[in-house]
Structures are given as C-alpha cells and as structure tokens.
Amino acid sequence: MNEQHVVIAEESYTTTSDAERAAQLAKVWAEPSGFLGWFKAVHHTTIGKRYMVTAFGFFLAAGLLAGAMRLQLAFPEAHIMSPDLYNQVFTMHGSVMMFLFAVPMMFEALSVYFVPLMVGTRNIAFPRLNAFSYYLFLFAGLMLFAFFFVNSGPDRGWFSYVPLSGPDYAPGKRADIWAQLITFTEISGLCVAVEVIVTVFKLRAPGMSLNRIPIFVWGEVVTSFMVIFAMPGVVVASTMLLLDRTASTQFFNPAVGGDVLLFQHLFWWFGHPEVYIIFIPGTAIVSTIAATFSRRHVFGYMALVLSLIATGFIAFGLWVHHMFATGIPQMSEGFFTAASMMIAIPAGTQIFCWLATILTGKVVLKTPMWWVLGFFFVFIIGGMTGIFVASVPVDLQVHDTYFVVAHFHYVLIGGAVFPMFGAFAYWFPKLTGRMLSEMLGLWSFWLFTIGFNITFFPMHILGLRGMPRRVYTYPADAGWTALNQIESVGYIFLFLGVAVFLYNVWHSLRRGEMAPANPWQAGGLEWATASPPATYNFLNMPTVNGSEPLWDALPDQPVVSGMHEDVREIVTTRILDAEPEGRDEMPGPTAWPFIAAVVTTALFIGSIFRPIAVSIGAIPLAIALIGWFWPTREESQRRARRNIWEQS
C-alpha cells in the first residue's frame, strides 16, 4: 500500500517552490475573515461543516422532543403535556428529523464536504449556489422553531395529510408553516443535487473514470438524481396545500372535483424515495468504512454500484405501499407489494458484498467499524419488519400502530444514524485535524445501540397489541403501561450515548491527539491532503489510477500541472473516462447568496400570511439575483482568453 505518493500534503513540502505555491494558492483561495466574512464564505469545506453542525443541532433538538414524548407516554393518563402540545411535538419531531436532519445530514452536509475532496478538485461546482442552499436550510429551521416557541408549531403529523391539514379542518397558520418548511428544505436539497452531479460528472480528477469513482461518491450521485426526481413532487404538494389554504384554490377539495388522495400520491412519490435518499448515503458510508477497516478493496464494486442505481430506480415504483389502507384497487395493491419486495434484491446484494468484504479481509475493529456492525444488526431487523408491512393483509392490521413506528425507526436510525455516527468517527480527523477517543467512542456506541433496542423493540409488541401511533396518552388498563415504561427507560440510554459522543467531540477538539493526513491508511483521495484540508484542497491536483486512489497509485503517479495559480482555476474532465478537457474558473466569495436567501425567506414566510408577498418579494429577490450574477471585467476577459475557439 502506497501512502501519499499522489499528492503532496502540506507537511511534505520538499522544495521551496512548493511552499511558495502553497502560499500563493492559500492567498487566491482564501476565505474572507471577520464578522462580515462569515456571510461571504463559499468554500465547500466551510459550508459543509456549517451544514453538519446545523443539521446535528436539529438532530439534538428533535431528540429532546422525542424525550418529551417518552416522558408523556411513560405513565398512563398522564397530563404532562396537553393533547395540543403533544400534536405539535410529534409533528415537529418527525418533520425536523426528516427534513432538517436526515436529508441535510446524509445528503447535503456529507456530499458538500466530501465529494469535491474525494473526486480531487478544489471546490464544489456552483459554490455560491451552495452557500445559498445552506442559508435557506438554516432559515427554514430557525423559522420552524421560532413558530414552535410561539405555539404555532405544525400539528398535523410529518406528512400533513389533507383534508386534516386542509382549509376546512386546520384552523390557524400551523399547516401553512409546515408547507413552507417543506418548500425551503427541498429547494435547498435541489440546489445541492445539481452541484453534486456537476461536480462528479465534470470535475473529477483525470483518470477517475466511471468505474473508479469511490462508492461513497456513487451513492451521493444516485441520491442527487433521486432528489431531482423526487423533491419536485413534495414541493408541488406543499405549494398546492398552501394555495388551497390561502389563495382559495381547490386542488384537494373533492366537492368541486379536487382529489384528496392526490396529496398522498404526490407526497409519497417523494416520501418513499426520501427513505432511500437517506439510506443510500448510509450504505455508501458502510461500503467505504468496511473496505478501509477490512484492509482490502470492497468486494463486488460493480455489483455494489449497480445495486445503488437499481435501488434508486425501484424506489420510485413503490410509493403506494404507504397507502394500502386508503382503499385503492386490489390490482395496485398487488403490484406495489411485488415492487416493495423487489427492493430486497439490491439491498441483499449489498449486504452480501459487505459480508464478503469483511470475511475475506483483515478486520481492524475501530469505532467506525463497530458502528457498521451495529448498522447490520439494526438495519436487517428493520428490513425484516419491512417485509411484514409490505404485504397488504399484515399492513392493514398494523397500519398506524406502533409496529410501523418501530419499523421505520429501525430502518431510519439503522440506515442513517448508525452510518452517520460511523462516518463521524471515521472522518472526524479529516474534518478537524484531531483524533476522537476510541474508548469514549465505544462507550457511546454501546450505550446508543443498547438504548436504541430497548426503546424501539417493545414498540413492535405494542403495535401488535393495538396501540395506535400519535395518541397523547392511553388508559391504565389497556395493558400498554409496562412496555411504554421500558421504552422510556431506553431513551435514557440513547440520551447518554449521544451525550458521551458530544463530550468526546468537545474533549477531542480541546485536547485530542493531532491527526496525520491519513490516520486509517485508507485509500480515498480525501486522505491525500492535510487534516483539515487547506482551502485549495490539494497543492497538486491529483490523477487517479484505481477505485482506491491512494492504494492503487503508481510509485510515480503524475499530478496535474499547467494550471494558473493566480486565479481560482480547476480542471474539467470528460464524463465517462475523466480525460482532461479544459480549465475553468470558480467564483469567489460574495455576500449575495446570503442576501438572496434572506429575501427568499422573507418572501416564503410572508406568503404564509398574504399571497401578495410572492409578488412583492419578487422585486428585492430580482435585485439580489442581479447583484449575484453581475459580471466583472477581469473575469470575463480571462474567460474569453481561455476559450480558444473565440480567439481565432
């Protein structure tokens, strides 16, 4: 295994010219400093870190809301919370976890930070759009919690079905706030999807042909395409809901030819792929960690990539299995049961590839690997109960009971949160330049895993005994008390597990051991640069010779030369074989994306109260966008000089 032959990390400058070049690049790619500089930052590592911290903050907030629910349900006939507050709390928990934590963390945060590093380029494509998407995401969360604290939190469940959320049955502004939260977060997701696709297809390091793209990057690309096809569905649904409620349209009103089920179709057209949008990055993380800690290339690279793509396709063919209880025709029920079962094929392929990787490798059991093993255990149980609920007769029995709650917590926490903690343990040295404590990492892993199973396993039994989801309390003689109390005790373990993780991070940031560039001897390009990476990512832009670039590098692996280093220049390559194609220039820091995001936020929040806010808000938004895209003379001239066809 070769180490750092490809790219010269900062520690290993050999010549004075390298140090001079590093200083020059650092000057060109510098992020603005100071208070105002905070709003101008456009580098993907800066924005990616903000994404991670913000999304994790929302994870903690939604976790505390879950604690409030467990406290309420720990005793029968409890009145710690009013039924109204409980409705808001479970809706907030679900909406925040899905829209403000799971997708932003698994897709946006991780891909913004790691995809450009893994494909060996200097910044993500469309960096200003990237900053814009982050601010929209941040403002969405702030808006939601601000409204929650003034007793206006959404209270119709995280999927806010009509007619319950429609104009006739949802008084006040709560459902409107939910609808605009969706619009915010989905626009932000769509922005990142476009950036990731362009980054991966046009900005890969020379030599990184399609069959050498790291699995994690493949996962994020498949996710991006899914985002592009899925998210418009929910944006349309939430906007139609908002129009029905504020502008007297009748999309969902059956009395005048609207359709209530249309909302469910549009929502689950997004909502089911959403589960895979969360889960595919998780599996891609598992593939990455399993390969690194088994000390071998991942088994069945091609099979893994194809099953990611297959999952992406099949995910769009099974949304109706969320609607088995709505009285749809039996033919559709049969079709969507079969389609739901079919997703087990790519999932199974992946699991067997991971098992083969681990069984034939020399496993090093570090914390990230423990999280991967925990993922296997939890996620496979979730997959098993998935087969239960994919079959119509069983689903009709357990629909809207705690059995379903148990199922989706096993797949979502197993499929996303376990890989996420694994990813933190794995990439923390790269993010911060410091190592996490192994011992504390194991403590948090075991506390979390045990707590998770104590909390969520009894829910299967509760659901089979008939406890419906979303009830704020239950009678003492229903026979549900003991199991509910066990679950609430499990929450304490979960809480401690996350608390130990937070302490670990805090402690390591202050006194952690300094991390070398490649502490795990891994093969990905992100390990070829310093920890944490400089703002120009790589001193020499790398070339690639295999799917694990550092393991497969030749002893004299070439680097890219001939770049202008006095501007933010990057190499563009061809889609299939990543042959170098040209050079392009990245835009620099600016505050316009922040201003545009503030204006968009005002427009969206205003439209909750007055539809005219869209028309009025369009004016400052247009001004912000004009400022954003205002060309500068030198930049245009440089662009013209690079274009060899126009010169002749």
Partner: protein
Amino acid sequence: MSFRSREFFAFALLVSLCACKREQRIFDPGSAASQPAGATPLTEVGAGTSPPPGNRPNAIAESAYAVGEGKRLYQAYNCVGCHANGGGAIGPALMDSEWIYGSSLEQIHSTIVQGRPNGMPSFAGKIPDYQVWEIAAYVRSMSGQLPSDVAPSRSDHMPMVVPEQSRPKEHPGAEHPQPVITEPQR
C-alpha cells in the same frame, strides 16, 4: 461570546414579542353538562341591550381554533337551517353589516342564549356556554369582523363556482351516431 449571547437574547425577545393568541386552544373548558349557558332574565329587546355580566372568555374571539370549532358547531346545532351558511333564509343574513340585536361578541352571545322575537329560539341550557361563545365568534367572522388570520377558511363543501367536471354532459353534433362501415373498402 458576549456578542453572541446578546444577539440570542435579542432574538428570543423578538420571538416572545410576536407570541400570538391565535393558536391558543382550550381543550378542557369543563364538561358540557356542568356549564350550560345560563338563561339571563329577558329585559328589553333592542340593539342597546347591555351585555350580560362578563364571563366572556377573551381567548375565544382571538383563537383560530375556537372560531374553527364555532364553525363546526354552527353546522352541528343546525344554525344553517334558518340562517343558511350566512346568507340568510328563514332567519336574517349573518354575513352583511345589518345587525338587529347588536354585533359585539357579547350581544351575539345573548341573542343565542336568550332567543329573539319572530323565530330565534332560546338555546339557554341546551348548549354549553363555551360553545355559545365559539359560535358567536364564528358568526362575527362571517361578516369579516375578525382578523383574517383568525377567521376560518372556506368550507370544502361549499363550491364557489360550478366545477368543470360536474357540468351536465353536452352533446355536440359530432357525437351523433355515425354510420358503421361493415365491409372494408377495396
């Protein structure tokens, strides 16, 4: 650090300032049987009647939930039977600006509780008091006397226009039966 915490407190203050009563919900106003709307003695009849001694729950007229409940109760207690959906039929219209017995919340409350001549029965002892207040608030909302973010939205069952799908089937000339060609032409 101090800068950040100051910013945070400013934000928290801002948030608490805009706290609104619109979303307040009262879920346990007492059981329906224990607090029936009491019949206050009838005095004189006219718009100038003094409001009943104040047990008016202030929150109701400002709570979107309470007004929404009032809308549902307006149907449930068959106010629709005489007043239709506000347009008036046997009883007077409620969505215009003419008020025979007063337009304030208290006055509408007494109208419902006491009854009025020429057909309005007294609902004293028949409807729990908090529900009378909710209905009264909804009645006010019909003539636009409540803020628009408190007033309930349209009802799904009341179409404002005839939808395209519910038009009677038309028979344009081209739909008349055409001669059927039995043998293929050669």
